[in-house]
């Protein structure tokens, strides 16, 4: 076996074992910090069991699934844009999700004064999760429409930036008109794994079960794109259609993650980056390992967020931003030194 193969196996093993160990730590992390003994004590009584099984377990699994969706979409985005610093939020999904959330919050705030009880109820049923999901997908759709499809990578990238700026401006406009929505918007921007329940886990597991095989089937397209668009086209790939399929997979995975946990920063960027650093490989492997690395990263950040200043909690998005930013600074210094 080549050293490449060994590295890939080692990383896969490390990600699997790491996920299990940190998940176990997540189950033992409570308001009084991290305590394995406390976990066994909690399981001995009904209230404790409820906390462990209905709060900590779905939160732990949900954090892993959110990270996996972001890691997968980050790996696919970096392959699609041929840029190791590409982010899954580049396609307009983040700004779309924020606008969706802000619109619902503003509508709910205004509802108390001018909207009828029935309309306010409908807004509540529709909910923030649905608004974020639909907003994220519409953001990507707007990007695709502005770029006139996905044939030109640069058009897609520029359209994503333009959509991001415009939708962010629209969100700001809405919060100016309805300042009550600001606090909710801020919480969404920070990201949180605190509200993940079993229903969220089911949605995300289903989403991962659909997007992971779909993206994996398109991995060879990403491999071919490393040779340039024209060479990939000369190999008989219908790039326009295949790129749109990739964008849809990225958009769906990202929308699902942000709708459940808000805008978790850096996981989608860093997870595939780390995978390629430890075990460079074809995109088939990078997509799978990127998802697992994203899961492990966010799970670790979630456990740290719950325990570093327990019983207070650090917003997990802040922690991932600090960890991700720190990693990039380290990378930059290392490259300069080299």
């Amino acid at each position: 076996m080549t050293s490449d193969g060994e590295r890939r196996l080692r990383l896969a093993f490390g990600l699997a074992v790491g996920s299990v160990v940190i998940a176990a730590a997540g189950m033992a992390a409570g308001g009084d910090g991290w305590s394995p003994a406390g976990l066994f004590r909690a399981l001995a009584n009904a209230d404790g069991r409820f906390i462990v099984l209905q709060i900590r377990a779905p939160r732990t699994l949900g954090a892993w699934l959110t990270g996996a969706l972001l890691g997968l979409s980050g790996a696919a985005a970096q392959g699609l844009f041929r840029n190791p610093l590409a982010d899954p939020y580049l396609l307009g999904s983040a700004s779309g999700a924020v606008l969706g959330v802000v619109l619902v919050l503003a509508a709910a705030a205004l509802g108390g004064h001018v909207v009828s009880v029935a309309t306010a109820g409908a807004i509540a049923r529709f909910g923030l999760v649905g608004a974020a999901f639909v907003g994220a997908l519409l953001g990507v759709l707007l990007t695709l429409s502005l770029a006139r499809g996905a044939q030109e990578t640069m058009h897609l990238l520029l359209a994503g930036v333009v959509v991001g700026v415009l939708l962010t401006a629209a969100s700001d406009l809405v919060t100016s008109a309805a300042p009550d929505a600001l606090r909710g918007k801020q919480a969404f921007l920070l990201g949180s794994t605190g509200f993940l329940g079993w229903q969220s886990c089911a949605f995300m597991a289903l989403g991962l079960a659909v997007t992971l095989p779909a993206a994996w089937r398109l991995a060879r397209v990403l491999d071919a794109l490393t040779l340039g668009t024209e060479t990939a086209a000369s190999l008989g790939l219908a790039l326009g259609r295949l790129r749109i399929a990739l964008v849809v997979a990225i958009a769906f995975a990202t929308a699902l993650a942000v709708s459940q946990a808000g805008l978790i920063a850096f996981v989608g960027l860093i997870a595939p980056h780390l995978v390629r650093r430890f075990a460079p490989a074809t995109h088939g492997y990078t997509l799978l390992a990127g998802a697992a690395a994203g899961g492990l990263l966010l799970l670790t950040a979630d456990v740290l967020a719950r325990t570093v200043i327990a019983p207070q909690e650090v917003p997990v998005g802040v922690l991932t931003a600090i960890l991700g930013g720190g990693y990039l600074i380290w990378l930059l210094r290392r490259r300069r030194a080299a």
Partner: protein
Amino acid sequence: MTSLRATGIGVSLGGARVLDGVSLDLRPGWTAIVGPNGAGKSTLLRVLAGLRTPDAGEVQLDGVPLAAWAPRERARRLAWLTQQGSASGDLTAREIVLLGRLPHLGIVASPGAADEAAVERAMEEAECAAWRDRRPQELSGGEQQRVLLARALAVEAPLLLLDEPTTHLDPPHQVALARLFRRRAAAGTTLVSVLHDLSLALVADRLVLLERGRVRAEGPTDDPALHAALVEAFEGAIRIERVGGRWVAFPHLEV
């Protein structure tokens, strides 16, 4: 027997006419396309590969318009190597060459024994088998070029369109490449290469001289009228002489 016929090809780029009424009939053997900078050589090769739709005219592959072929079917018959070839990312040289089997495999099927054998043959032919497990960033420009050439060879298409395949190659490897092209041509491949090195181009079977987007001259490489046209097209900066039984182009080095 695979044939490629271009009729009345016209292409404009940014308002400038890059190709104007180019007609070619390409058959098995080695055809070299030469011409001064900006003559439209690379654009012509893109049109022949179906990567650029001409504003005028049509290209037919085996008598069928290029646009009417399904992309994968076309890719199995026609392999293309770009002038600005570069490999990036995390793929090893062998994994890059394996991408040449995509027209046969599609995006899902796993490579079989025939694909592995084609990859090995291509890497041996392009003399890059020794660094199969290395990545592009670990290779020199010439080594990368040989990997990219092996990728094109691995398609095992009856028609090879190569844009400046000798870029970054040192003289021994340029000669090795010319031998490979001769072997492929003798085996019935229709090989079309854009070349800047006129001496190398004169080793081909046929030569097409492009000038300002038009075919200035074409014919067998030992045609004296073609040689005269070459000297004129390159503004007298070269002379063509017979050395050791072969035609060689020498630059006038007086400065």
